[in-house]
């Protein structure tokens, strides 16, 4: 069905100007180079293929993270979420994790989800840090509101960053938000945010050429298999 642009424009949320996230490269514990970069709307159908199997992993809260992330990405693709961005981590082109988030206002960021597909390499920690880096350093925001859906997330974000509790209900289910302020970000940056810029051209080209998605079976095994950490 053709899109009725007149109606469509009424349905789309207003958009704030958003600076792009400059790509970076991180050397992981296994020596592999993970390129972290912002993806565009047209990449979303590819990303959905990686998120889909996680919806059915009833372990470590992957089901709630996967299903919400899936709908948020669909929302971004169909212009139903305001000011959303998505960063991915790729090793040799393969998608190893992704994070998404949005600007709630010019001043406040609303952190959405972090999904690690390859586990045990701190991919999630690196990508979450990149998301905070984008909110504070490139989008120039004053604060980011965060909640955790899993104990792993709680431990990683609330305790490692020393986030401030608030009584502000978060968009994700209304749980009370924790807050990363600009000041807290810069206090913790040296131990939590890593990466080099610019990304060497050949690495960036491999990442941009194709976001390679592992098979659904591989994704399930990486996340929920015997060796899943």
């Amino acid at each position: 069905m053709a899109v009725d642009m007149e109606l469509e424009l009424m349905l789309r949320p207003p958009a704030l100007p958003m600076a792009p996230y400059p790509s970076k490269v991180i050397t992981l514990a296994n020596g592999k180079k993970m390129v972290v970069r912002e993806v565009q709307r047209e990449d979303i159908p590819t990303l959905l293929k990686a998120v889909h199997p996680t919806i059915f992993i009833h372990k470590d809260f992957y089901d709630i993270v996967g299903s919400r992330l899936y709908s948020e990405l669909v929302g971004m693709y169909t212009h139903r979420t305001a000011n959303e961005f998505c960063l991915v981590g790729q090793i040799d082109g393969f998608l190893v994790g992704m994070v998404n988030s949005r600007m709630y206002s010019a001043k406040t960021g609303m952190s959405l989800h972090t999904l690690a597909i390859d586990r045990g390499l701190r991919v999630g920690a690196h990508l979450f840090a990149a998301k905070m880096e984008h909110h504070i350093e490139y989008l120039g925001q004053e604060e980011v509101l965060i909640v955790a859906e899993s104990p792993i997330g709680f431990r990683r974000w609330m305790i490692e960053y020393g986030l401030e509790p608030t009584d502000i209900p978060h968009e994700l289910g209304g749980a009370l938000s924790f807050r990363l302020t600009r000041q807290l970000y810069f206090e913790t940056k040296s131990r939590l945010v890593a990466g080099d810029r610019p990304v060497p051209q050949e690495l960036l080209e491999v990442a941009q050429r194709e976001i390679v998605i592992a098979s659904e079976a591989d994704i399930r095994e990486k996340i929920a298999g015997l060796k899943g950490r």
Partner: protein
């Protein structure tokens, strides 16, 4: 006293076994050991487990296992001796056979730790510390190891690079072991040299970092013991002889050790094992040491007599403890990569050494011509230690 042989071994891959209960895992490993030996009845079981009562709220696990395996009415005992439960259970099995009271004994060790969050698992292991003078402060086993490492580095010149090289060696070997929990290789660049290693390998219990620690794992392992003189009638397998064992204890609290860098129980357990075996450390072809923390592989290799004090770390840098080196240590990947389901570990070490001494492993993991193996199972923070010397037997 009779000579004791290991005639069957079994193990299930370590990792995160959400689908299996603790008794499931013990049963699977036990069935493999029974089938490996080719026996279908035993006189007694010794079952090693530390946390069933705390984590699973299940007690009397030996009674549950003997029934599950249809080995009734065999005698069955649970052995809980902290992270040395496995070694203790094997030792009890060896004593039972050596004494002449039992002929065929199954020893199984298992632990299911991933059922709870890391916080709970850390707290569970910390319950082995002193309940008044240590536990309330929030001390953990990694914390004990951190305090020990600080002193050991200062006294013996152990460097961070030595520790990192142990982690690399053991994770490289673990990647070749299908039973290992961690199959991921790491590089020095990724965990130490790159500025990004600050995030990859953060401090965990200073001066130790994340990659100095073993993972928290689920798993089980089992062995079958019998008198050496009955091997031929019971099994077709080449026997592995329990040439010697030792066990020693040290103060419960770390603060009461006169020299906290001296792991007296390790030294004594090893001495007893070598004396009983009438062997020397130089005669060992392959060793499984208790590297719950990388520092322990160095400290134990020195305390048991493989290297002089202060030389263990250098030996690592020189490659002497790699496969193909002078004395390969933790070819299985050790606790660092195979994982550390606490009750299973001491038994898993014996399983690995048995495979090595039977020359059954694939080439990339086999210590060529291995004749004698050695293990250290380190309980508490070195307050209860079990050592074994095993020898390849004859057909």
């Amino acid at each position: 006293m009779r000579d004791v042989a290991i005639i069957g071994v079994g193990m299930i891959p370590f990792g995160r076994r959400d689908e299996d209960t603790l008794v499931d895992m013990l049963a699977y490993a036990s069935m493999k050991a029974l089938d490996d030996a080719g026996v279908d009845a035993v006189d007694a079981l010794y079952v090693a487990n530390m946390g069933g009562g705390v984590i699973q709220r299940q007690t009397a696990i030996a009674s549950a296992l003997v029934d599950r395996l249809s080995l009734l009415p065999a005698a069955a005992d649970l052995v809980e001796n902290g992270p040395a439960s496995g070694g203790s259970a094997v030792k009890n099995g060896v004593l039972a056979v050596a004494s002449g009271y039992y002929d065929v004994v199954l020893v199984a060790g298992g632990e299911k730790m991933r059922e709870v969050t890391g916080w709970r698992a850390t707290d569970f292991v910390a319950t082995l510390t002193h309940p008044e003078t240590e536990y309330p402060y929030g001390i953990t086993l990694p914390g004990m190891a951190g305090m020990f490492t600080r002193l050991y580095m200062e006294k013996y010149g152990v460097t961070r690079e030595m520790l990192v090289q142990i982690a690399i060696k053991n994770q490289t070997m673990g990647a070749l072991n299908p039973y290992a929990h961690v199959e991921m290789m790491i590089t020095k660049e990724g965990v130490m040299d790159s500025p990004h290693s600050v995030v990859n390998n953060p401090p965990a219990a200073t001066p130790l970092h994340l990659y100095d620690m073993c993972p928290v794992s689920d798993g089980a392992a089992a062995v079958i013991l019998c008198p050496l003189n009955r091997v031929k009638e019971l099994t077709k397998n080449l026997p592995v002889v329990v040439a010697g064992f030792g066990q020693a204890t040290d103060t419960h609290t770390l603060a009461e050790r006169e020299d906290p860098t001296d792991l007296k129980a390790v030294t004594l357990a090893a001495q007893q094992a070598f004396e009983r075996a009438k062997m020397k450390p130089e005669e060992i072809s392959v060793a499984e040491l208790h590297d719950a923390f990388t520092i322990l592989e160095i400290a134990e290799s020195e305390h048991v007599g493989f290297f002089k004090k202060g030389e263990g770390g250098k030996a690592v840098l020189e490659g002497k403890t790699r496969l193909g080196g002078q004395l390969p240590i933790n070819v299985s990947g050790g606790l660092k990569a195979r994982g550390h389901p606490v009750g299973a570990t001491g038994v898993a070490q014996i399983v690995e050494l048995t495979w090595q001494l039977r020359h059954e492993l694939p080439k990339e993991r086999q210590v060529k011509g291995a004749k004698a193996g050695f293990s250290i199972n380190f309980g508490g923070f070195g307050n209860n230690v079990v050592a074994f010397v095993l020898k390849r037997g004859e057909k």
